[in-house]
Amino acid sequence: MPKRLCTTVAAALLLVAGLAACGDDSDSAAQPKTLTYWASNQGSSLDADKQILQPELDKFERQTGIKVTVEVVPWSDLLNRLLAAATSGQGPDVVNIGNTWSASLQATGAFIPFDDATLATVGGKDRFVPAALASAGAAGQPPTAVPIYSLAYALYYNKQMFTAAGITSPPTTWEDLVAAGKKLTNGGKWGLAIEGANISENAHHAFTFSQQYGGEWFDPAGKPTFDTPQNVSAIKRYIDLMAVDKIANPSNAEYAQNQSVSDFANGKVGMLLWQAAGASLKAQSMAADAYGVAPVPFLQSPPAGGKRVNSMVAGINMAVFKHTKNRDAALQFVKFITSDEEQVILNKTYGSLPSVKTVSGDAAFQAPEQQALQQVLGSTAAPLPQVAQESQFETLVGTAMKELFADAASGKPITEAMVKQKLSDAQQQVRG
């Protein structure tokens, strides 16, 4: 009896041991002088990002003796893995985060707050572009991250199509944009591309229009205020571009995979509202001189309370986990990435703008697209609501707009009552 029992138990133990041996063991806990860094995908591929970052990391190692291991995480995974790391208390030391996640991530308490003292170790608060820093956490609290790449929306327009339609200069008001769009919409071509099924794109435009109409998505206490008259007008104005003005292809109502950019690159549409589309357009063989870049339009006669905002502050921030074992090394790395030299190198390569004021005059950022974006960032961009429910706002309002676009595309008339109903329903689903 013991023999047979032993054989079975031994087999079971071997099974478990075999499982343990089969997998590869990842690196043991951080040694001093090493850092783990999760970079987001900013370039044309994960591999390309690695190629771009590695020389800078080597440079950092030469300067400080700290070795940084980088993993480039695709956007589809990044938030999930950040969540897992925050939950478990285990993970990288330094991460890139999308700046719209800042308030939510701040609420987890898993990241080192960049109070004035900590900011001083990375060069001081005043170095950063104020709008960019304001998008790194809730107002009244120290930012949870520092901005490293900055982006804003701009109006891209096809020069050749403009000339052919007799439009001499890019529109500066929405009314002008509609007029231009109508001239461009014929012969299978359209005036404006809209990424109607993309929840976050919808939410970003919702923000901008709402600001111009004097609306807010959350009141100072943090309660949602989705269905105010200003917001209703704002959303309706955007949806009407397809529903009433008909300058956008109804098919755009199902665009969620950046087809808008492709349509613009292929000359099917004359105008595009997008964040720093230059690199993507170049990858799709559209030469930089084939298009012009202008600031996003404003309303011709803004209502009372309307703000002069034509873009949300987009960008990437860098955060440090509290669970890091090498806090000083991590902060040194942050200082390195936000240094003048690295800001120029990295932002030039990625086509974004530096988040520090000190290098905005650099020659690398004087191309027309960069100038237009810089102007927006510097003067007319505002951060999305920095509240913990920001992601609910994006999901609920973005989805409501997606449904409105779907209705518009199938020919249903869009009334103010419809818009208000959708926004009310969205507001009622906000929790917390």
């Binding site: 969540l83 098919s251 689903q429």
Partner: protein
Amino acid sequence: MATTTAASPQLGSQGPPGSSPVRSRRVRGARRSRLPYILLLPALVLELGVHVIPMVVGVWMSLLELTQFHIRDWSTAPFVGLENYRSTLDVDTVTGRELLHSFWVTVAYTTASVGLSWLLGASAAVFLQRPFRGRAFLRTLFLTPYALPVYAAVITWSFMYQRDTGLINHVLVDQLGVVDHRPFWLIGGNSFVAVLVVSVWRSWPFAFLCLMAGLQNVPEDLYEAAYLDGAGFWRRLQYVTLPGLRPVNQVLLLVLFLWTFNDFNTPYLLFGGSAPHQADLISIHIYESSFITWDFGVGSAMSVALLLFLLVVTAGYLVLFRRRRIDA
């Protein structure tokens, strides 16, 4: 990690029924009655560790207010009892109504998908019974969707469904001229049919496989006898094939129902993360209304509610089938 409960050896209840416990076997019987527990041990440990315990923790999560504020240290999450359930299942609120709507959509979707997959699988299995040249090739071809990575398969369908550039509209509108205006497939009313077709495309090979195997077990002579009795194709199907397939069907239909009901990948990849209202399947609805906004307590509550529903369905299904078996 839980260990199995080692019951004390039970003499007289060991061994296959009908075997008489002989004196010389009693000693071995005492040994043997511990053996099943040992044999079961690895499976039990794995199931407990990977399925059951996380599930229990998940249920516990549904009783907490677990949001981004507390995710780092669950001990700080306030215990709210059934509040998460109350707030999400309350059909007077928009949230509750949306959840209920998505539930009905999923019931319709699952029923149709399982039904169609079964129908296609059975047709293919029946018609591929008779050997002919190219049968092996056709069998493998029909199994190919099962082999393809889900990401690529569903993305391909989303291409085909594109209004302006997709194959489906190209054929329907440009080439066949069946419809005048180009329909939308990924938004609007057609989206339900769209996701249903993709689901059937991906599941019917598995049904085909199981049914094909099940058919092998139906003795050829039964068909012969029926044929000689003058039974035509449909009669043979009704009296020989389908009864012979009952054991396979019992397993297959239940399993397909459960898997399809819980299917997340297909709608998520087809609709790019947010499903249109008409195709708001419950797995993606739960994901969007909770997990994506860091509200894990509510998400878990919705998932547990879903689980309870499926338990009820399964229990009812098993009772139904068992009764039919006794009758048969």
